[in-house]
């Protein structure tokens, strides 16, 4: 399902359909997260990502109007070359995966793995610094967004 959604994301001509495909992908992924014992991430993915970010995209699309891409565009070789390199890229990744030897997993208590508590423990002890930085980043992003979407008013 995720793959279908992914293909959809890039294929639809209308952006709104593309966004909706992305939502599909995200939902699929969230389930996979759950499968991977990442309960917190599963929830966050749905609430934040699929919920907030995608809604944002939808709003913007609504604002800008549904546009269709038309024609081939000016760069003739772009598609071909892109396909080439991308395939090469995929091939590489695939090849890399073939020889992967996982190291021995650490022993942790599977009951607490991926729970909210463990995430909280990590965030507030070892990774406190990145956590704080990220919050500043969010603040800056918010300010930036507000500023950028300001309409220049002569009276202002």
């Amino acid at each position: 399902m995720a793959i279908i959604g992914g293909v959809g994301v890039i294929s639809f001509r209308q952006p709104i359909r593309s966004v909706l495909s992305l939502v599909v992908v995200m939902l699929a992924l969230s389930v996979l997260f759950l499968l991977l014992s990442a309960q917190f991430i599963f929830v966050v993915q749905i609430i934040v990502y699929a919920g907030a970010v995608m809604v944002l995209f939808l709003f913007v699309i609504a604002l800008l109007g549904p546009a269709r891409e038309s024609g081939r565009g000016r760069l003739r070789f772009q598609a071909g070359l892109s396909g080439l390199f991308v395939l090469a890229f995929f091939g590489l990744v695939f090849a890399m995966m073939q020889g992967v030897h996982f190291r021995q997993p650490e022993t942790t208590d599977l009951n607490v793995f991926g729970t909210v508590q463990s995430i909280a423990v990590g965030l507030f002890t070892n990774y406190l610094y990145p956590f704080e930085l990220t919050s500043i980043l969010l603040l800056v992003a918010a300010i930036g967004a507000v500023y950028l979407s300001r309409r220049d008013d002569p009276k202002n």
């Binding site: 890039i10 990442a38 970010v53 995209f57 699309i61 891409e69 991308v86 979407s149």
Partner: protein, 109 residues
Amino acid sequence: MGTLDIGGSQMDTSWFLLLGAILFTLGTVGVLVRRNPLIILISIELMLNAVNLTLVAFSRQLQNMEGQLFALMTMTVAAAEAVVGLAILVDIFRARDLEDIDDLSELKG
């Protein structure tokens, strides 16, 4: 290949990695090929998601929380980036009323 014990049955981590790779590739194609800037941004989000999947998969395999924490950070950053990117997009596209990213070729030469 590593196996995971999930809910009683064994699963191969590599499937998850493969899915992640596919999604990432799809996202890359989208960035390179599509001309609508919105779609490009969406494709970038797709790529980020794929990365998150890979991270969480490894985290589970190695039984290390770092992967999940990293994914969380990524998500946060992706959200911030999407916000700012969209703001810029709105700004430019409203002023010019264009929809093709190839029209933005001022850096030519």
